[in-house]
């Protein structure tokens, strides 16, 4: 459906109460009478309808980034995602969120305000239009070089130096080993995502390592490989050449994940195995970090 023409006015007059109603409407948390009222208004009030479309995007982004309460998340999955159109939007949002995450930190000089004067030919990392006085007064430093490439190179060197120093300081101040460990046991699903339940894990404050005990499928192999991917499909941690251990008569693997690599999100752990030769994916485990 072409939604580009729908949000055509430049201002919305929407109250906080209306926004809350739209949230409840989209998540199926409304009684029938209220629902009819909202829908009648959606048919005739352009502002409310435009807000609904914006709010849908915002809700989906919250879900993708793991920023929803448990209750809203459950409503989102059981009600909002019943619609194939909403599922399509979610798939788009997953890819879009990944794109934005990758793009952030790559400064460009392409931006200018719609009604602003043309941007200065001298590159400026402030993306606000150059004539904006508020942007100027907020700036408390300036780039040393007039050529942006040199500025970016300088910024990169500074960042690398800071990260290096911080890493060395951290290494010397912390003992080796997993530190405070939080352990959870996961059972396998199939290779596709639909297999297996999604277990929610709440990491206690101060946890250094999440240790996952992965119960292995019945067919045994000498070597295993695990790849942890987040909801955007980005590989976070990979471990190779893992060997199984016995847990209450069942074979399992221990998979340690530094807590610093995890954020509230839904993760998929892809398990591959090999007898000889190449690894072949045999199962997956899904969990959610709250």
């Amino acid at each position: 459906m072409d939604r580009t023409a729908l949000v055509s006015n430049n201002e919305l007059e929407i109250s906080t109460q209306d926004r809350e109603e739209l949230r409840r409407y989209l998540l199926g948390q409304m009684v029938e009478a209220d629902l009819s009222q909202v829908e009648e208004r959606l048919m005739s009030e352009s502002d409310l309808y435009a807000e609904l479309l914006i709010f849908e995007d915002e809700l989906i982004d919250q879900y993708v980034r793991g920023q929803m309460s448990e209750t809203d998340r459950a409503s989102f999955e059981s009600y909002f995602l019943q619609s194939s159109e909403h599922q399509q939007k979610l798939r788009f949002a997953q890819a879009f969120s990944k794109y934005v995450d990758r793009a952030v930190g790559q400064p460009t000089n392409e931006f200018k305000a719609e009604a602003a004067p043309a941007a200065s030919p001298v590159a400026d990392t402030d993306y606000a239009h150059p004539a904006s006085p508020s942007a100027k007064t907020r700036r408390f430093w300036s780039w040393p070089f007039p050529i942006p490439a040199l500025n970016y190179a300088l910024a990169a060197v500074v960042v690398i130096a800071i990260v290096g120093i911080a890493w060395m300081a951290l290494r010397s101040s912390r003992p080796a080993g997993p530190g405070k460990v939080f352990e959870a046991t996961l059972v396998p699903g199939g290779v596709v995502r639909e297999g297996g339940e999604i277990q929610t894990i709440s990491l206690a404050a101060g946890t250094d390592t999440l240790r996952l005990r992965l119960i292995l499928p019945s067919e045994q192999y000498p070597n295993y490989k695990t790849v942890l991917v987040d909801s955007n499909g980005t590989s976070a941690v990979t471990r190779d050449d893992l060997t199984p251990i016995d847990t209450f008569g069942k074979k399992s693997l221990l998979f340690d994940i530094p807590a610093t690599t995890l954020r509230p999100d839904t993760y998929r752990l892809r398990l591959s195995a090999r007898a000889t030769g190449a690894y072949e994916e045999i199962a997956s485990y899904n969990f959610r970090i709250r």
């Binding site: 430049n10 019943q82 890819a95």
Partner: protein
């Protein structure tokens, strides 16, 4: 559900005439009503929201000669009343199999990502920058960032939301077309 109620050209013209005497304005109103019906059916979890919206419109068109002279008020509300009946009939049909939520990771995300990269390049540089700036960060940082962005653009935060939503919608449409072409 009676799917035999087809919209003839005469019925469609009469429907447009009821919506507005100006045919161009009437066409816009028709499109607007149809989009809203699709959204409502979609929000109610219907599997075929577009079919149900078209069914609603067909029924209104077929009743038009009977109601045109007596109905008072916004035609959109009348469409909504008929949509409720269509929805009740839909509910009586055997429930379609509920699809599981999309996987946090699947191959289509990767394909979509390729298309997305292409579609981002089709945006104007200004809009490309805007959506990346608008949708980055999380929680409070995101709110603060958007306030700054609106300030820098010299527009209200709501106007910024509308612009970002519009660009995102055009991107989503572009990606859908790209995927469709890739599969053809």
């Amino acid at each position: 559900m009676n799917k035999n109620w087809l919209l003839t050209k005469e019925a469609f013209d009469a429907l447009l005439g009821w919506l507005d005497p100006n045919r161009e304005v009437a066409g816009q109103k028709y499109e607007d009503i149809r989009r809203r019906l699709i959204t409502i059916f979609s929000c109610r979890g219907c599997a075929e929201p577009e079919d149900l919206a078209d069914e609603t419109i067909n029924r209104v068109a077929n009743k038009l000669s009977a109601i045109k002279s007596s109905y008072v008020g916004d035609p959109a509300r009348y469409f909504y009343g008929v949509a409720n009946k269509v929805y009740l009939e839909y509910r009586r049909r055997p429930a379609p199999e509920v699809q599981p939520p999309p996987a946090p990771y699947d191959e289509s995300v990767e394909k979509k990502f390729d298309c997305l990269e292409r579609c981002m390049q089709k945006l104007t540089a200004e809009n490309r920058k805007l959506v990346i700036e608008y949708y980055q960060d999380e929680r409070q940082a995101k709110i603060d960032h958007r306030k700054r962005l609106a300030e820098q653009l010299g527009i209200a935060i709501n106007a910024l939301r509308i612009r970002a939503c519009r660009v995102r919608a055009s991107l989503q449409e572009c990606v859908a077309n790209c995927l469709h072409e890739a599969m053809a």
